[in-house]
Subunit: 322 residues, 2 copies
């Protein structure tokens, strides 16, 4: 299967993690070098990487730091791992980093308790975890392709890190005639910059629309399915995703269009009310490519995500739990 | 009453019409000089002016051209007026220019038929029409202010040419505590550039949000009223307005928030299905301040307006017919 660069946007090469700078895509395919936990926190906070890329960075940072400190013993590694987890958890609020880092902390604790080599156990488990995720994501690509039928016109929002684009390619090889619409996704334009590009790269028929055009698009029956990702999932099916997803869900309901959500099922959060939403710096509304275009003193409000009640979702396309 | 520059964005000074270049507001308050019908068509098509400004330009263009051609007799003026009307009607499709120009053509025809001085009749009637519109718009400002109650939080979209900002100032003098939220209004950012600025100029408490944040804003009960303008109205209450208005209407319904629309009642179009929607050049989605920011060959769809069914509207705030 042809792979989108966004499907696996960070890879480890000896002591350096190469992280795709998604803010430069598609003009440039450049990778930021991450060498330690501080670099990792920065690359996440600056949104050089996002969504799935962040998980790769979080997991890989433990591998990096274990490589960097070959001299540490079991107790020292346990403390180190706790500190890395703490730093990563604080990088951005909406993502469930603690769910991932908590598991690694636990592996270290258990290994130490059982008298095992903490380094070996943690390295092996993190590598295994990464492999597992990769396999399960490829499985999900096939599930997405199965959800899309011949003649469908699919709206998406923001970017789902390669999976939708690869599903589009799979649909083509299955001889399905499918159209895609992607939103611009203000204020970061992930749709204009990432989603459009990768769908196009995969040979899909895709049209870019303003976030404001979704109502009209649906009223005119130009789309019949919505497929979006999710950044955080709740036990009851509520989910957080890029700002704008909630209103797409409401519109889909109004116009009787099915909404599908790619999920990573989790029972740790009961419902959407418990998801903390990141309020990003208002200047991101006022600047374009680092240059301010809105004059004067302006007060803006920029929640980075919204939380969508599960009642709007037709079906989850879940990452399998193995 | 303090007046927003957007309330009356074009004024005639001898043989030149000075049209506020709204694409430069608020960085610069610059006026484009319009001297004839060709300049007028260009200033409209380039969206230097929009919404109400266009009507001022259309009406004033007849005054300009009558001034420019003092030598023409009644028959020649009649033909001239017909040609001006034709050129203006074709400038942009969604606006009801023909409704305005048709009236002027009729005045010329009637004057000629009645043996009156076509020039004198048309000049007098157009001037009177402009005065009347001014008075009725000031009346509507008071109606908007009466609609806004103490403690309200009002969402608006795009820009309603000074009226909402002046109503905000009126609310302040009435000691009402009111908050405003305005959308960015991609792709032209009329909200970031015009609406935020003029509400602020009038001393209002205003916050800028991405178009994508409306669902969240409503779900969190941060707004309790929506007030928008309309570019074209139908006999049944359907209306066309800036792209994005339809989805705001659907969201307002879902979250039980009242939607008010400033209208210019008209019986010429039966319903929304009969309104032609302007599809603007897709490059407007791909460029920012004239510089392209989306790489590669991109196919975009940019309807400039959407047509909102009347069922979503709580109440029209109409321009009185005198």
């Amino acid at each position: 299967m042809k792979e989108s660069p966004l499907f696996w946007p960070a890879y480890l090469n000896s002591k350096v993690l190469f992280v795709l700078d998604e803010t430069l895509v598609p003009q440039y395919l450049r990778y930021v070098k991450v060498k330690n936990v501080d670099d990792a926190v920065k690359v996440i906070r600056d949104m050089k990487t996002r969504a799935f890329g962040q998980f790769l960075v979080v997991l890989s940072t433990f591998l990096l730091e274990l490589e960097r400190h070959p001299q540490l013993n079991g107790e020292e590694l346990q403390e180190k791992i706790g500190n890395i987890a703490h730093a990563l958890n604080r990088s951005r609020p909406t993502f469930p980093f603690a769910e991932v880092t908590g598991g690694i902390v636990q592996w270290a604790d258990q290994a130490l308790k059982a008298g095992q080599d903490v380094r070996v156990v943690v390295l092996k488990k993190v590598h295994g975890y990464l492999q597992g995720i990769r396999y399960r994501r490829l499985e999900r690509v096939a599930k997405i392709a199965a959800t899309i039928k011949d003649g469908d016109s699919v709206l998406t929002h923001c970017n789902v890190s390669g999976e939708l684009a690869m599903a589009a390619a799979m649909c083509q090889s299955q001889k399905k005639d499918v159209q895609f619409y992607c939103t611009e996704t203000r204020p970061y334009f992930q749709g204009s910059k990432l989603t459009y590009w990768e769908l196009r790269q995969m040979g899909a028929d895709v049209t870019l629309v303003a976030d404001n055009a979704i109502g009209t698009l649906m009223a005119d029956r130009m789309v019949n399915k919505v497929i979006v990702g999710s950044d955080r999932n709740c036990a009851n099916g509520d989910f957080a995703n890029k700002i704008g997803t909630y209103q797409i869900a409401v519109l889909a309901k109004e116009f009787k269009i099915s909404m599908y959500v790619l999920t990573q099922p989790s029972k740790r959060i009961a419902s959407g009310a418990d998801i903390p939403v990141e309020i990003r710096n208002e200047k991101e509304l006022l600047e374009f490519n680092g240059k301010r275009f809105v004059a004067g003193k302006v007060h803006g409000l920029y929640p980075g995500f919204d939380v969508v009640p599960h009642s709007y979702v037709k079906k989850e396309i879940a990452l399998n739990v193995h």
